[in-house]
């Protein structure tokens, strides 16, 4: 087990290295000049030069990369050129929000996607199959920002049952927190549930065609037992892995959802930072999401191993 864990963590290192290189080079590719962006259109060349010098924007690429990496080693991700806050501070403010949002969304996506997937699989080819699939595909077939606005107009403006925005920290008021999270998490979750549904359905179909399902039926077990005890366990295996991969998609989705629901999260931070050429923020945030994503995949692998006896005890 430890060996497996060590090996997986070992594999993460080159991946993270690549992430940092991609992000760093992407930044270099972006047109526009962070100093200029920071100085604004009224700035004099002297001011721009001043800013350049102050933030070492004139250093060679490799030097900057080196400094950045060295900074990471000390837990320093630099400061946001735009707001002068430290990136670490920005991230610590935002990670909980996005993580909560993503987690809730994932829960919604999994519950909804898996149940629709099972429903579709067991009624394969029948009308229920199509109904379940169409419902589950609804989410990915709608731009998230659009669905979000419709939700706000319906639930917040028209019926007034949910707040249109206004994130309340979980620690402050769990109920309000949940109320403020429901809509964004649903919009986000729906977008992913379609994919989960698809995977669940095909995994379930495959599992249901396996001999051991027939064996279970031959024992006279009820259909519910067959599906939930014998089939679902096996169908869960691919869904776990793919679910973790989908988490990446989900983190993408937070960009739009957070924008629409004015959530103080991560996604919006990064997109704005890209537009503002706030490199340190982009780098720090993407690195952070990448690590979260990779860790999640690691957990998924562990979960996979836990559910799959073949991998247990390795």
């Amino acid at each position: 087990m430890t060996r497996f864990l060590l090996q997986r963590i070992g594999l993460m290192i080159p991946t993270i290295f690549f992430v940092s290189v991609i992000v760093f080079s992407l930044q270099q590719l972006l047109p526009g000049d962070p100093a200029l962006t920071m100085a604004g259109d009224e700035a004099s060349p002297a001011l721009i030069a001043e800013i350049r010098a102050k933030y070492h924007l004139d250093d060679p690429l490799l030097v900057r990369y080196g400094k950045w990496v060295a900074g990471i080693a000390q837990g320093d991700l630099g400061i946001s050129l735009r707001t002068q806050q430290t990136v670490v501070q920005l991230l610590t403010q935002k990670i909980p929000v996005t993580l909560e949002l993503a987690t809730l969304a994932m829960i919604i996506a999994l519950t909804f996607g898996i149940s629709m997937g099972i429903l579709a699989a067991i009624s394969r080819g029948g009308p229920m199959d199509y109904v379940a699939r169409c419902i589950a595909l609804f989410g990915i077939s709608m731009p998230a920002f659009w669905l979000g606005i419709l939700f706000i107009l319906l639930f917040a403006v028209k019926w007034r049952i949910l707040p249109a925005s206004g994130y309340v920290p979980l620690t402050e008021n769990p109920l309000e927190n949940l109320r403020s999270m429901i809509m964004p998490a649903t919009v986000l979750g729906l977008a992913v549930s379609g994919v989960i549904m698809r995977h669940t359905r095909s995994a379930m179909l495959q599992v249901l065609s396996n001999d051991y399902v027939r064996t279970a039926r031959a024992k006279g077990l009820s259909e519910t037992t067959v599906i939930f005890v014998h089939a679902l366990r096996n169908a869960a295996l691919p869904v776990i892995t793919l679910g973790a991969l989908e988490f990446g998609q989900l983190l993408s989705g937070t960009v739009l959802t957070e924008t629409v629901f004015s959530m103080p999260g991560f996604g919006k931070l990064v997109v704005d930072a890209v537009f503002n050429r706030d490199y340190a923020v982009v780098q720090g945030a993407v690195l952070c999401t990448a690590v979260v994503f990779l860790l999640l995949n690691l957990f998924a692998d562990l979960a996979y191993a836990a559910v799959n006896p073949r991998l247990r005890g390795r």
Binding site: L11, L137, S209, G253
Partner: protein, 299 residues
């Protein structure tokens, strides 16, 4: 279709003459999939024949007809600059189709060969490619696309390129996994034994056999691209004015939701229907092309 099974373990016949042929013939038995196909076809027709079909110039503004509700003159109404929404929808179909076709082509053209190499060659090549792909996957696709689109400058084509590039890792992953699955098939080994060089094995023996899975992924990526184009437009790096795309129409329309709901309804519905159709197509194709999910012959 099936031939007498004179083999001990009865196997489903996974073999097909042409993947597309089989796909179409099996889809034709699925009413919902046919509907989805029809939607896609309509989009294709609109996109290709936009000049002929559209009643108005999609960019010509009419100050006397700002935000007019659907009427006889403007079947779907007019937008904030008095442009005919129907015409813009028709040209917008072109943008959406472009978004899906080009981005998938890019992702396919780059992802598949790379994935095939990784899967077939294995070893250190595979290791590096896999790490790199993981890294790309770990960067949220939309953020990646936004950065790339910002780098290239906001325009439809650049957004589409960005979407395509962001979709590359999915294709790498898929074709790698598929190639690894097929690599040890006996017919690939047989190809080696009769003296095929490596490139030919990959090209003639592995690639054609992973096409079904790739087609499925392609349709799903098309759905993704339609939505992604809309999202990038929302973030300001998609199709630029006065060009029409469903995404930027919707983005503009959201400012006039109450004043002129029709501005939002049509592009919203079009995006939804198109993406749903691609999704359903992919979904159904997966069903019919993926032998795993086909019911097995009892043995």
């Amino acid at each position: 279709m099936s031939v007498a099974l004179s083999i001990r373990q009865a196997r489903p016949s996974t073999a097909l003459r042409s993947p597309l042929g089989l796909a179409i013939s099996s889809l034709s038995r699925q009413p919902v999939a046919m509907l989805a196909m029809a939607v896609v076809l309509v989009v294709v027709v609109l996109a290709v024949g936009a000049e002929l079909i559209a009643p108005f110039d999609p960019a010509s503004a009419d100050w006397s007809a700002l935000r007019e509700a659907p009427s006889r003159a403007h079947l779907l109404g007019t937008d904030d600059l008095g442009r005919d929404i129907l015409s813009r929808m028709i040209y917008g179909a072109r943008a959406s189709l472009l978004a899906s076709v080009i981005s998938v082509s890019i992702a396919f053209a780059i992802g598949v060969p790379v994935g095939l190499c990784a899967g077939y060659l294995g070893g250190i090549v595979d290791g590096v490619i896999t790490r790199f792909t993981d890294a790309m996957l770990a960067i949220p696709a939309l953020i990646f696309a936004v950065s790339l689109a910002a780098f290239l400058g906001p325009s439809l084509i650049n957004a589409v390129i960005a979407i395509g590039v962001a979709a590359i890792p999915v294709f790498i992953r898929l074709s790698r996994a598929q190639a690894m699955g097929v690599k040890f098939e006996e017919y690939v080994e047989a190809a080696y034994v009769v003296g095929n060089p490596r490139w030919r094995i990959v090209l003639k023996h592995i690639f054609p056999n992973i096409v079904p899975a790739l087609i499925v992924q392609a349709t799903l990526t098309m759905a993704f691209a339609v939505i992604a184009e809309a999202s990038l437009s929302f973030l300001g790096v998609g199709q630029q004015p006065p060009g029409a795309s469903w995404g930027n129409m919707l983005t503009t329309a959201k400012n006039y939701l109450e004043e002129a709901p029709w501005m939002a309804i049509w592009p919203g519905a079009a995006i939804f229907l198109t993406a749903l159709s691609f999704n359903l197509l992919g979904d159904t194709l997966q069903d019919v092309l993926d032998p795993r999910s086909r019911p097995r012959v009892a043995g």
